[in-house]
């Protein structure tokens, strides 16, 4: 009797969040997939049904792969996918180059200062993402703070065009995603046993060698977690390239959004999303493996 009540309670605790996520996270992808196979129509909603029913019988199945064919033939999409992957990869490396020394510095600071530094990393994370990107617009514009300072100092005579360049996009992304790189790295580095480095030094390793042979290999899970936390969402990034990026080279998130809002072509937008998801399946699975390992190790 008690055992049955226990099982029922257990089922409920699993079932409620599971049900929510199945309905609102997994099912949408299936619908997305279905619509990506249909045809655009001038209607509400603006797509044709896949299945035609008459007298309770299926009379027709309309599957259109044209949307996908589009994605591979139209250079707009191909270059947008390529550009997005490139931006994501470069930004990830930049975040790592800046974030690793910071995480290391925080992890090796005295405990009292460590909390303060960590708070300084997390603080921007709690403030509006949109407003932080916006803050850069004030700095990067032709009549923005940076150009004004450089003009005033006589370094340049005419303002440098920084807005609407790749540079601005990288800057905005690194700026916004840096905490996502630092936090998992810090979590990893903070757990390292200090005596390992002492042992390495005792065995004759110079600090650089000790770092390369001990600290760096041990921090690989942290590096991977941070890299995936940056790379995956950046592939689909929409706000930063829209506000800071080039008008002539769109990222795929922007393309999706334009197809959906401006062209009202839901099937193509769905196909764009599906292909993006397909590209990201491997990194997402890798991220989940990493999360699982981390929680099992504890």
């Amino acid at each position: 009797m008690a055992a049955r009540g226990l099982r029922l309670g257990r089922l409920l605790v699993i079932g409620v969040p599971m049900g929510w996520l199945l309905l609102f996270f997994l099912a949408p992808f299936l619908i997305d997939f279905k619509i990506s196979l249909s045809e655009v129509r001038l209607a509400i909603p603006p797509y044709a049904p896949l299945l035609e029913w008459a007298d309770g019988k299926l009379v027709a199945l309309h599957l259109h792969l044209t949307n996908y064919r589009y994605l591979f033939t139209d250079s707009l999409y191909v270059s947008a996918y390529g550009y997005s992957l490139k931006v994501a990869a470069v930004s990830t490396v930049l975040c790592l180059l800046l974030g690793y020394p910071m995480a290391l510095g925080i992890a090796r600071a005295e405990p009292a200062r460590r909390n303060l530094l960590l708070m300084l990393v997390i603080l921007p994370f709690w403030t509006s993402f949109l407003l932080r990107v916006y803050a850069w617009m004030g700095l990067l514009r032709n009549n923005g703070l940076i150009n004004n300072l450089l003009l005033w100092a006589g370094v340049i005579d005419t303002p440098i065009q920084m807005m609407q360049t790749d540079f601005a996009v990288y800057l905005g992304i690194v700026y916004s995603y840096l905490p996502f790189m630092i936090l998992p790295l810090y979590t990893n580095l903070e757990k390292h046993d200090g005596t390992l480095l002492e042992a390495a030094a005792d065995l004759g390793a110079k600090p650089l060698a000790a770092f390369l042979r001990v600290t760096l290999p041990l921090s690989v899970p942290g590096i991977l977690a941070g890299a995936l936390l940056v790379f995956i969402p950046v592939v689909g990034e929409y706000v930063i390239p829209t506000l800071l990026g080039r008008p002539d080279q769109l990222m795929i998130g922007r393309v999706l959004s334009d197809e959906f809002f401006a062209n009202r072509d839901w099937p193509v937008a769905s196909a764009v999303a599906m292909l993006m998801l397909l590209l990201l399946v491997a990194p997402i699975v890798a991220f989940q493996r990493l999360q699982n390992n981390a929680s099992e190790a504890r």
Binding site: M1, A2, A3, L6
Partner: protein, 377 residues
């Protein structure tokens, strides 16, 4: 029925009904068999120790008694009642966890009162019983502290008080002294014994520490790879190990392989290739003649002599290779001509005595026919 009712209401049990009966219990986790067909009776009022190395299944067995794990096969009966469908919170059993598992957000008082509150006892009664229990474990004045404000020894006593205050039929203790330092352990061991005598609760103790098992237990069950290999009093287990594993696991021992050459009802002779003379043992063994057997001799049962004694059996000659002075005794490593090394201990009875035997000395080793143990398993 609550645990408190149980403690008071049940009349003295007949010897026929044990406090705990474990019948053919097996527990598998996937492919791994943690507990393998264990049967065991534990009597009212006894302290029973499950002793074994890590992964031998002792903790799994304990957790099945508490109800946190369900046996894959077999039954567990407490006071004759099958525990199969009884949830942990309904069993007349309490457990003292290895980590103590004190609730960090509650005071000592609240920790100890927690179990009584679950029985919906009146507040005044709870307060009285908590107070009495805290004073029993010498924690008066600590009631309002939180666990992290206590020392290791005090935490251990809170954990004990918390599990005893419900007056369980059976108290399960998982490595009860494991987290204490050496000095404190010895003291606490005797305290635990006193408390058990005073309250008359049946204890089942899990430990990997044989000293702990020896001092606490009335009976010890030695476990190996999910099975109970021997059950007996501490003395039985030490002096009459029934298997080679038990002989080797408990205390230190000199073990030899040998062949039965004479097999009578009241004595046997064993020829061991590593020993020059046959081993004479004053008890019989159930084995075929010429069977291969093991012989175990404890280090403290071997005598060291300078001169050759008058004996034909239980005798060897060797050279002292190393002496380790341990304070109360010394350990001698003696090498036999065949290369086999024997361990011999000798009490240091006198304070000023120099080591009688030095490294490099030639010595004779002898032992009594009553000392060796022979077995086949």
């Amino acid at each position: 029925m609550t645990a408190a009712d149980n403690g008071a209401a049940i009349a003295p049990l007949s010897a026929a009904q044990p406090c705990v009966r474990i019948e053919g219990v097996t527990k598998r986790f996937g492919e791994f068999t943690a507990v393998d067909d264990v049967s065991l009776d534990i009597q009212e009022g006894e302290i029973f120790c499950l002793l074994g190395g890590s992964g031998c299944g002792k903790t799994t067995l304990l957790r099945m008694l508490a109800g946190f794990e369900q046996p894959t096969a077999g039954r567990i009966l407490i006071d004759g009642q099958d525990m199969a469908d009884i949830a942990p919170y309904e069993r007349p059993v309490n457990m003292m966890f290895q980590s103590y598992a004190l609730f960090p957000h509650m005071t000592v008082q609240a920790n100890v009162a927690f179990g009584l509150e679950q029985e919906k006892l009146p507040k005044t009664q709870i307060a009285q019983r908590v107070e009495a229990m805290l004073s029993l474990v010498r924690l008066d004045g600590m009631a309002q502290r939180k666990p992290h404000q206590l020392s290791g020894g005090q935490r251990q006593r809170v954990a004990l008080a918390r599990s005893l205050v419900k007056r369980p039929r059976l108290l399960l203790l998982d490595e009860p002294l494991g987290a204490l330092d050496r000095k404190l352990r010895e003291h606490t061991q005797f305290e635990l014994l006193g408390l058990q005598k005073q309250l008359g609760v049946t204890f089942v103790v899990v430990t990997h520490d044989q000293e702990e098992a020896m001092t606490l237990a009335n009976r010890i069950g030695v476990m190996d790879r999910g099975r109970i290999v021997q059950v007996g009093s501490p003395r039985d287990i030490y002096e009459y190990p029934s298997t080679r594993f038990v002989a080797d696991f408990i205390g230190s021992v000199n073990l030899f392989e040998g062949r039965l050459t004479e097999d009578e009802a009241d004595y046997v002779r064993v020829a061991c290739p590593e020993l020059p003379a046959p081993v004479l043992v004053d008890h019989g063994v159930s084995a075929a003649p010429e069977a291969t057997v093991w012989v175990a001799i404890r280090p403290e049962k071997i005598q060291l002599l300078r001169e050759r004694p008058e004996a034909a059996d239980n005798l060897a000659q060797g050279t002292v290779r190393d002496v380790a002075y341990m304070g109360d005794m010394s350990i001698y490593l003696v090498v036999l001509p065949g290369g086999r090394e024997l361990r011999v201990t000798r009490a240091n009875l006198q304070r000023k005595e120099e080591e009688v035997f030095q490294s490099g000395d030639a010595v004779w080793l002898v032992w009594d026919a009553a000392s060796p143990v022979v077995g086949t398993g």
